[in-house]
């Protein structure tokens, strides 16, 4: 470390370090990744069994896609904070890095995990569920991208909250659902537009809501994280 290092650079380095720490420890245990992959496969096969060869309308199927993504996110994205509490490493992290850097690193990790999860779900979904076809790929891609960013952003701050509570597992979906509902309803309606083959301009309103949602959630998370994190 040199004395000339600016605060911004130091912050960026801390953020990167937190991210890399989580990434390496994830690659060692593969806890979240395997949980997510298995969850997505299980849920999609349940949907296939439930449909039993019957076709469902694209409207229903575009809603179902986000049901899978939401619950998969609920099973894996809390890990990054819960892990710190379980291993008793939270205190160490508090001492070594600024709260905002910890949050940014964890958010980055969840963004990567969330993006991977969404891509996996979408690929499997498009492959196995024959009734679901996307007509307007531009809307679909934008929805998937914004949706997984928003999902990761809201899940990260809720994960930070529940990591401090006693009943971590059950509380997570309960707390996340109301916060995520504006996002979920918007992405579901945008996915429907994509499945119906609407032109890109038709989904502008949805994208505006999604972008403002992401901005609002990330900003408040950064402002409030310090209070949750510090003992």
């Amino acid at each position: 470390m040199t004395a000339a290092e600016t605060p911004v650079r130091r912050w960026l380095r801390a953020t990167g370090a937190v991210f890399m720490k989580d990434w390496r420890s994830e690659l060692r245990t593969r806890y979240a990744i395997s949980a997510l992959v298995m969850f997505v496969i299980t849920t999609i096969s349940i949907i296939l069994f439930a449909l039993g060869g019957e076709g469902a309308s694209p409207e229903v199927l575009s809603g179902m896609l986000w049901v899978v993504i939401f619950f998969a996110a609920m099973s894996g994205l809390a890990r990054t904070f819960v892990m710190e509490e379980e291993r008793g490493t939270a205190m160490m992290l508090q001492l070594t890095a600024a709260p905002s850097a910890v949050f940014a690193g964890k958010l980055l990790f969840n963004l990567v995990l969330g993006a991977g999860l969404t891509v996996l779900t979408v690929v499997l979904y498009l492959f196995f569920i024959s009734g679901f076809t996307v007509q307007t790929y531009s809307i679909f891609l934008a929805t998937i991208t914004l949706g997984s960013i928003g999902l990761a952003a809201a899940s990260t701050i809720i994960a930070a909250i529940i990591a401090r509570a006693n009943t971590k597992g059950t509380l997570y979906p309960v707390l996340s659902f109301p916060i995520l509902l504006p996002l979920l309803m918007t992405v579901i309606s945008a996915t429907r537009l994509a499945a119906d083959g609407m032109p890109f301009s038709e989904a502008f309103g949805e994208f505006q809501i999604l972008i403002s949602y992401i901005v609002v959630v990330v900003t408040t998370s950064i402002l409030l994280f310090e209070y949750i994190w510090k003992d």
Partner: protein, 232 residues
């Protein structure tokens, strides 16, 4: 004391007027409400349903404001006020949901239709539920206060999407939604006659006073419980 008595008088007058005043097709007297086609006698609900919904939203923001104050000052009394406001908000939210659902049964044909307005009150209910489950899941007092304050703030910044924006931009059955033949916007602006407006605003003021009274009472008892608990 004066607050309680004047509230009692005001709300009695409101209830008598809202239930008792006749509705006629061509109002001649000051006490007759005009007939609104499609709503008829069911229009009276607005005097009770809207104030309860208004209170549940106001309580929600009161809870958030005390949450912010707690994070700034770390005063346990702020946390008490925050949770008391949330409790009252939950109560009024349930009342608004039930009165709305009964009205919807007679006006729209079923108790629940997932109209944007119904979705928004449902989300408010969920948030209150989540808030209390979070509170019950944390044992340490300070931690519980901090976490629930943070949660109520996060909820308060995302929920306006629902309560204020969505019902207005989405087509729905609820009066004042987009697609309403009389136009979107607050119902009071275009559907109410002057005498209805007087009763409506009196009811709104009365319910707000009711909230203030209940809030102060509950805060006082909750503080006593807190000190009792702290003593032994």
């Amino acid at each position: 004391m004066t607050l309680r008595i004047s509230l009692g008088v005001l709300l009695t007058l409101v209830i008598v007027a809202a239930i008792g005043f006749p509705i006629s097709a061509s109002p001649r007297h000051w006490y007759e409400f005009p007939l609104i086609p499609g709503l008829e006698e069911k229009a009276r609900l607005i005097f009770f349903h809207v104030p309860t919904a208004w209170l549940s939203v106001m309580a929600f923001f009161t809870s958030m404001v005390y949450g912010i104050l707690y994070l700034r000052r770390r005063d346990p009394m702020d946390d008490i006020s925050s949770s008391v406001a949330a409790g009252l908000g939950f109560l009024f939210c349930i009342l608004a949901t039930i009165t709305g659902a009964i009205w919807a049964k007679f006006n729209w044909g079923s108790f629940w239709n997932w109209d944007p307005r119904e979705t928004s009150i449902f989300v408010l209910l969920l948030i209150y539920g989540a808030y209390f489950s979070l509170r019950s899941a944390v044992d340490v007092e300070e931690k519980r206060a901090t976490l629930s304050s943070v949660y109520s703030i996060i909820a308060a910044v995302t929920v306006p999407f629902f309560i204020f924006i969505m019902p207005r931009i989405m087509t729905g059955l609820h009066p004042g939604a987009k697609g309403d033949p009389d136009g979107a916007g607050p119902v009071i602006d275009f559907k109410m006659s002057p005498n209805m407006r007087v009763v409506f605003f009196a009811s709104l003021i009365g319910f707000t006073g009711l909230f203030v009274w209940m809030f102060r009472l509950r805060v006082r008892t909750a503080r006593l419980e807190y000190f009792e608990h702290a003593k032994g």
